[in-house]
Amino acid sequence: MSSRKTISRLAALGSLSTAVILAATACGAGGPATSGGAASSSINVLVEAGGHAELQPIADQCKKDTGVNVNFVELPYDGLFNRLSSEFSSGTVSFDVAALDSVWLPSFKDALQPIDELFTDEAKKDIFPSLVKEANVDGHFIGMPAWTNAEIVLYRKDLFEDAKNKADFKAKYGYDLAAPKTWQQYQDISAFFTKDGMYGTDVKGGVETEYLAHVLQAGSPMVLDSKNNVVVDNAAHKQALDFYTSLVKDAPAGAAQVDWAAAQNLFNQGKTAMTQFWAHAYRQIPKDSPVYGKVGTAPMIGGSAGVAGVPGPWYLSVPKATKNTDAAKKFVKCAFDHNDLAIQSSLGLAARVSAFQKYQDQPGYESFKPLIETLNAPATATRPATAKWQQIVDTVLVPMLQKAVAGGDSATLLADAKSKIQALLK
């Protein structure tokens, strides 16, 4: 009897739940319908979770200016790429605008609408040159920069300004202790601070961008030249790799596994005296960190070709499959017009030169001058425009770096990398 009662109760409960749920299921709990229906003044913007914070103040302003209401769809980085791939390949999209990582533009170029009309001469003057070049794929602009980033040098101002450290450093190396500008200075300072449980810097074996910046600093295009020849085994790549691995002795153990998160943690914990890191990290140092308020910023270091960095921009793009093209383009234009609003977000990045310049002298934005200098440096360049780039990074460059920081022979590793990249590009 009790079992039957239980079943009856469960059945009743189930029926009730089903009715409620199915009634609610008509639209879900999140909000309005997705793209694909008739055109409307409400658009869906697909964005990586971190980018949402950047775009929210802009979306609020654009609603006032244009009447376009923006719903954000946040996804984690890897998931965003998978989602874009699946929706573009199916021809049905659930969004009207997507924020794309720069390395994805070549992969998705056929699914994106040209937005040439938004790239006026005035607009182009206010965008970093490397970004203007990158946004143009096969003769058409397919993405408007929403925010950009680049590595700069973050260093422990308190240690660098310490009188004893200054005197000891000058006595040992013959020049004043200051933020490093060259490879040699970076090596010297790293060695100097590696003592008493502290390290001069980190070495990131799990990510490739910093090594590629050194390649640019050594005067070579990264991995592919302008004719798409693989140049990963040239002298500049070897110099860059040798410099990269020369820092391992002054970095915490386990360099092969160190990625951005690990390097940021080490610096914020006060374990490293310097790091080359994305500029946004300066404003993200936790208030309870032992290094909070003690960090200085400098442009990326320079090699024989001078200062250089690899920009990390994200672009707003409009898919061909959207039914809301007009509203989508209105938002993209509005986002560019109000680009400086993104700086007030917790991440504090923008894409326009004028937006960075507006804030560069304000307290709390000390990272902007070094960032502008790095992004404007002649040797700074974006990553090669190939749809295979992510594959090259994941299957060739990162494994090569991990072997190199573990003591592998640089010339052999680069030669091996060349043949693998050539095979991927065939």
Binding site: S3, R4, T6, I7, L10, G14, S17, T18, I21, L22, A24, T25, A26, C27, G28, A29, G30, G31, P32, A33, T34, G36, N44, L46, E48, A49, G50, G51, N71, V73, E74, L75, P76, Y77, G79, N82, R83, S86, E87, S89, S90, T92, S94, F95, D101, W260, A261, Q264, N265, L266, N268, Q269, W278, H280, Q284, P286, K287, D288, S289, P290
Partner: protein, 347 residues
């Protein structure tokens, strides 16, 4: 085994009472129950020589019996100790990650990324919970997760119960093929069916709805549900149904009135598995949801961004998200245990 070689009291008493009928497997191989000893007492007075030898043998028997009991109890104790150690190890293995997650959710930002990591927070804070629960879209994602999991569980049960019943009761070749074929969806990597499923749902106008995600989740839980329910139905004697049909029940009536109440524990177990499969699923949710139906696992993953990883908020939301499942498991605990042991006495 001969009585002479039997070391226990039962053997001794059997030898002393030749006419006593042997009961295979009871008196000669195990220590007798008290009533057996009492029943042999009147015959003990008969042969004197045996009586004279009795104290020694009995003493020896008692000694041996004492040794055996102690040995047996020592053995039991050591087995119990080993089991406790294994249980503690399993508890640490499964419980520690959750405890670590829970402690991390109360840490300050710098504490969450401490090098080397610490287990307990240096300073306890609720900021991570405030931040996580105050984030835009979190309450909606909870509702979406509940909707999706409940619909998926109901769908799984509605389809799995009759399927499993039919397969186990009729035992046809096509049933055997069907139950094996049901596993095929489990053999294919989810990402391989996720993208086509997402396209199919979009083409029938179900894009970004909990019902679409529920259907996708049912593809994961249904094969497991059919297999689980089949094993539970197998454990129910067919005589029960036959008795019900003799009493006037139809086949379906017997299923509804007799069989299903018997396997209700099994249904609870299956429901829990189906619910959990949907509740924690990430990949399909990632591919198929957007503004309207995004579930909490995707929102939790969004705390890892290109700009960093917000460990504190991520662990806080994960801890909150675990609560409904823990409550559900506790509520259905008795049913689950009953379901787990349903087939244990089969045969």
């Amino acid at each position: 085994m001969s009585t002479a070689q039997t070391p226990d009291d039962g053997g001794m008493l059997a030898a002393a009472v030749p006419n006593r009928p042997r009961q295979a497997g009871i008196a000669y191989s195990n220590a007798p129950a008290p009533h057996q000893t009492e029943s042999t007492m009147p015959s003990r007075t008969a042969p004197a020589p045996q009586t004279t030898t009795e104290p020694a043998s009995a003493g020896g028997g008692r000694r041996r019996r004492g040794v055996n009991r102690e040995g047996l109890e020592a053995g039991k104790r050591s087995t119990r100790t080993i089991l406790w150690v294994l249980l503690a190890a399993a508890l640490v293995l499964y419980g520690f990650p959750f405890l670590y997650l829970l402690f991390t959710s109360f840490k300050t930002p710098i504490d969450t990324i401490a090098v080397p990591p610490t287990i307990l927070p240096k300073e306890w804070t609720l900021d991570n919970y405030i931040n996580a629960l105050g984030r835009n879209g979190v309450p909606a994602s909870f509702i979406n997760s509940i909707q999706t999991a409940v619909i998926s569980t109901l769908l799984s049960l509605v389809l799995a119960v009759p399927a499993a019943y039919g397969i186990t009761r009729y035992k046809t070749a096509s049933g055997r093929v069907f139950i094996m074929a049901a596993l095929v969806t489990r053999m294919v990597p989810p990402v391989a069916i996720g993208i086509p499923l997402a396209s199919m749902m979009a083409s029938v106008g179900l894009a970004d709805t909990p019902i679409a995600l529920s259907i996708a989740h049912t593809t994961i839980s249904l094969p497991l549900s059919i297999w689980l329910m089949s094993s539970f139905f197998e454990a129910v004697p067919q005589d029960l149904e036959e008795a019900a049909t003799v009493d006037g029940c139809s086949r379906l009536g017997a299923l509804w009135r007799v069989v299903i109440p018997v396997v209700s524990g099994g249904i609870a177990v299956t429901a829990i598995f189906a619910f959990l499969a949907s509740w924690n699923e990430f990949l399909f949710a990632l591919l198929m949801t957007a503004v309207r139906s995004q579930t909490t696992p995707v929102v939790i993953a969004n705390f890892q961004t290109q700009f960093g990883l917000d460990w504190g908020s991520m662990t806080a939301l994960a801890a909150v998200y675990s609560i409904p499942v823990i409550l559900l498991t506790l509520l259905l605990q008795r049913k689950i245990v009953a379901g787990m042991t349903l087939g244990a006495v089969k045969g």
